[in-house]
């Protein structure tokens, strides 16, 4: 499964399925199970239809029919939030651990 066509062309895996969505949505938009299911089904179908090593199947889904602006901005400039300082990351991790420790007692 890929949303980065040029990287996949370079890596050249045996079988690939490309969906032209912003990175982080390789199998669809959040809370749209029908779209997600269709993308995954299409990808699985490629196991049976791809006959040439290195082939990339391009799926027809469009992120936004009325606005292709994301294609200009995805993964540019301030796209990625700054990596949190170590102390902040440690706090987030401690909270995550505590949350699951609590819920396992229930």
């Amino acid at each position: 499964m890929t949303s980065a066509l040029d990287i996949t062309q370079a890596v050249n895996p045996p079988r690939s399925v490309f969906v032209n969505f912003p990175l982080g949505h390789q199998t669809g938009k959040p809370n749209q199970p029908d779209l997600q299911r269709q993308i995954v089904r299409d990808a699985l179908e490629a196991f049976e239809t791809i006959a040439r090593p290195g082939a990339i199947v391009e799926l027809p889904y469009v992120w936004d029919e009325n606005d292709r602006g994301w294609e200009t901005t995805d993964y540019t400039g301030d796209f990625l939030p700054p990596r949190p300082p170590k102390e902040d990351a440690d706090t987030v991790e401690a909270e995550r651990q505590a949350r699951f420790a609590r819920s396992s007692v229930r």
């Binding site: 499964m1 890929t2 980065a4 066509l5 040029d6 990287i7 370079a10 890596v11 050249n12 895996p13 045996p14 490309f18 032209n20 912003p22 990175l23 982080g24 949505h25 390789q26 199998t27 669809g28 938009k29 959040p30 809370n31 199970p33 997600q36 299911r37 993308i39 995954v40 089904r41 990808a43 699985l44 179908e45 196991f47 049976e48 090593p53 290195g54 292709r68 294609e71 995805d74 993964y75 540019t76 400039g77 796209f79 990625l80 939030p81 990596r83 991790e93 995550r96 651990q97 699951f100 420790a101 819920s103 396992s104």
Partner: protein
């Protein structure tokens, strides 16, 4: 128009030494699938930094992987990854790790069996050597032991 992520990544990380992208020019290895996908045992592998419950987070250059029970629900999973915008995937992991959808496709017979567990790693490992020589062989070994027929890799 497909976005060209290689030049964008070069630009985004311009303060670092240029990343050496993996380029494989030879014809890729080919293993035919000797059965319909409806009869195959399929494993899913995500590189979006998915963690199950209290599994330890990933670290910088972390080439380890986690085993995710195939029964995992939204509330069981979290994400530890700094290389993509994770908000949508945090709201619904099926954006990058479609476990719920694969369970449905197993239930309706589209795939023969969804292998348990699923596999997860954090794709922001800058050493291609580490991935090629350490991470990939370990996961491949797991897949062989689990007797899966096919695997579905979802990078993020």
């Amino acid at each position: 128009m497909a976005v060209e992520y290689i030049p964008r990544t070069r630009e985004l990380y311009s303060s670092y030494a240029p990343y050496k992208w993996t380029v494989n020019e030879a014809t890729p290895p080919w293993t035919p699938l000797h059965m319909p996908i409806a009869e195959a045992k399929l494993a899913v592998i995500g590189s979006g930094g998915i963690l199950y419950r209290d599994q330890p987070r990933f670290h910088r250059e972390d080439a380890s992987y986690r085993l995710i029970p195939k029964s995992a629900r939204q509330d069981d999973l979290s994400i530890w990854h700094f290389g993509y915008r994770t908000a949508d995937a945090e709201a619904d992991h099926n954006c990058i790790f479609p476990l719920a959808r694969l369970r449905e496709l197993e239930a309706t017979g589209v795939i023969g069996e969804l292998a348990d567990p699923a596999y997860s790693f954090m794709g922001g490992v800058y050493s291609a050597r580490k991935v090629r020589d350490e991470l990939a062989p370990r996961i491949a070994d797991e897949l062989l032991k689990a007797h899966v027929d096919a695997f579905y890799l979802v990078p993020a």
